[in-house]
Point group: none
Chain length 413, copies 2
Amino acid sequence: MRVTVLTIGDEIVSGHTLDTNAAYLSGRLAELGFRVGRIVSVGDRIGEVRAELEAAIADSDLVLVTGGLGPTHDDVTKQALAEAAGVALVLDRDLHALLKRRFAAGPGVRPEVIESLSTVPQGARALENPLGAAAGLEIGIGAARVYAMPGVPREMEAVFDAAIADELDALPKRCFSRSRVIRTIGLRESEITEKLEHTVPSLDVDVGFLPGTYGVDLRLVGSGSDGPAATEKLEKAARLIENVLGMSVYSTEGEDLHDVVGKMLIARAVTIAVAESCTGGLISHLLTQVPGISASFERGDVTYSNRAKIDCLGVGEALIRDHGAVSREVAEAMARGVRQTAGTDIGISTTGIAGPTGGSEPKPVGLVYVGLAHDGGCAVKEVVFRGTRRIVKLRAAMLALDLARRHLSSKGV
Amino acid sequence: MRVTVLTIGDEIVSGHTLDTNAAYLSGRLAELGFRVGRIVSVGDRIGEVRAELEAAIADSDLVLVTGGLGPTHDDVTKQALAEAAGVALVLDRDLHALLKRRFAAGPGVRPEVIESLSTVPQGARALENPLGAAAGLEIGIGAARVYAMPGVPREMEAVFDAAIADELDALPKRCFSRSRVIRTIGLRESEITEKLEHTVPSLDVDVGFLPGTYGVDLRLVGSGSDGPAATEKLEKAARLIENVLGMSVYSTEGEDLHDVVGKMLIARAVTIAVAESCTGGLISHLLTQVPGISASFERGDVTYSNRAKIDCLGVGEALIRDHGAVSREVAEAMARGVRQTAGTDIGISTTGIAGPTGGSEPKPVGLVYVGLAHDGGCAVKEVVFRGTRRIVKLRAAMLALDLARRHLSSKGV
């Protein structure tokens, strides 16, 4: 089965937009047992789109297309599909009725826009787009089956998941692969490589190392004659790797660190409050991404100014004067203060110099103190992070979340 | 000048890795006055790489290739280039001497690996890689000029910048293009299309519409006989579009909304405090991404619980009891409260139901109130957003930032 992914849009060939759609589709197709042979991107010119479509159709059994399905002048995919198939664009009455109903609820959209959105190449089947107005399409051209999806990533994903994945899964296939991401924090890539030196060769899966901004991910790919066989290989490998790396592994399921910490807090009914200076609200933002966190997350104080640290957290004015706002002492006072004010089980704090300015000889840009107050006392960590303002904020937030994770794990609460 | 970018690697066609190399090269080529016609990605199979190379060479004047230049078995680019050119791989003595010297300094690398890294297709010129062992290549095949670069992004960028960019810049070009992104919030794509119906055809630039999660971007591409001519067309078009869309345009330079608001606050010496419930710290996080914001950003209170709203912001217990925490009245009390407590020029607030649970008949998931308190009073906006928890948070935060932007603009402060 020869598969081509064709992504359409000037924003891709001009370098303005990363082609995340191609990566998403290739990954999903791999899970479903298909190997993508080639990915092609072209701009919004009808002649070029048509030429690439025709080349893909001649060469492939399955063609997945994204982009160019909207109602504006630069949306040429439907026309190109119709030309490649040698058919006309016709009104899909069911789609037209659906879109008219949907638009009737909101502010006025001109009838000709709705009509344009409701045309399909003759013989094509419209695929509902639950998140937007541009429907997907399925059409057979020559010996190839062509699926077209909108270019907005979440709409593309929604159409693929709702209307296309099951149809592809029902096609005959030879080999299934499954993948899984093990996420770590606190070890360098070289340390992980050394620790796993004897483990990786014995695993029946491919292992890739992906160093990130605040930790290293390990991507495992297992293949088998069916999905469960591939999944079993992955699970065995994940267990072995976790045994070697221990607490540095925060997820064997590719989860984000804040999701792991948020779920631990909720599951263990531990309440938390956060006092942030240099991280500027990032920790609160990440924790409140987790559904159901309101049971555990009591409040967050983004105490950027000294005044706010004193007023909101009860940090002593003299403490700031004697040690500076960026100090071990103030980090501890912030964590203890927010825990006490909010009346929570734990309190975490950050204070540091995110940059690009504000550094000095004894306190360079990137210096960060992270505090964790709990019923047994208060721990403070001092680190100097390299990187831009954004990177320092991110690394500091992740260090604080990791401190909370290790505390919650060790307590077994 | 027809240009193809060809990226090689199983990690791309399997969806493991985003193809950032293609985006980087396309963007750099656009700056240098070339329009990339197509981007093609294939895996590491020699037959497929050779076929795509031959198709690109037949079709293009300039071909940029990344990936597959290393010494391992899955690095097939040099062999494919040699086959496409009909020549043998030969040892490049200068490159060999250079790599031997370089490797002599570090840990042991086997001589045959160094030798493999030093071979090039006969007639090709090696391009030094300052950051790694795999050199780039330049070779003419048929009428096309082909440049090959390593696949590791920072090495690819280093080879392109050091050895290729200047050569391309010296080529005769017909047309220079420049691009620019106009960012809007508050209008749908269809509304923008309607408003610009008569403007777009009169512009001497290409206009692409890119709807995002909380606004629509317009990407303009202007072409001219040199860079300044292209830039002038862009500037003229941007002014015309801004005249039509008015306050909905928050940047004609592709900036993020929080950067625009942060810079306005700093430039006008306006101080701000933020009281967030449903956005959970996201507004504070975004504002504190802006360097220098500590002069304007006094504090943020993430008052997730009712208790926090009462304690930190002075919201009346009765107000919450009578109207609910998610209400116009509480949004106003939060904005006024944080402004007063922090003693800032403006205070903004959010309260809403981010979901996925917590909705009810009169107050559905996605209902959000956003408040803005200033010296002239307090404005509150009510909206119901569709989407996941993350999307509701993001849209609510952007609405609040936009409210602040419009206030700051109207004041002309």
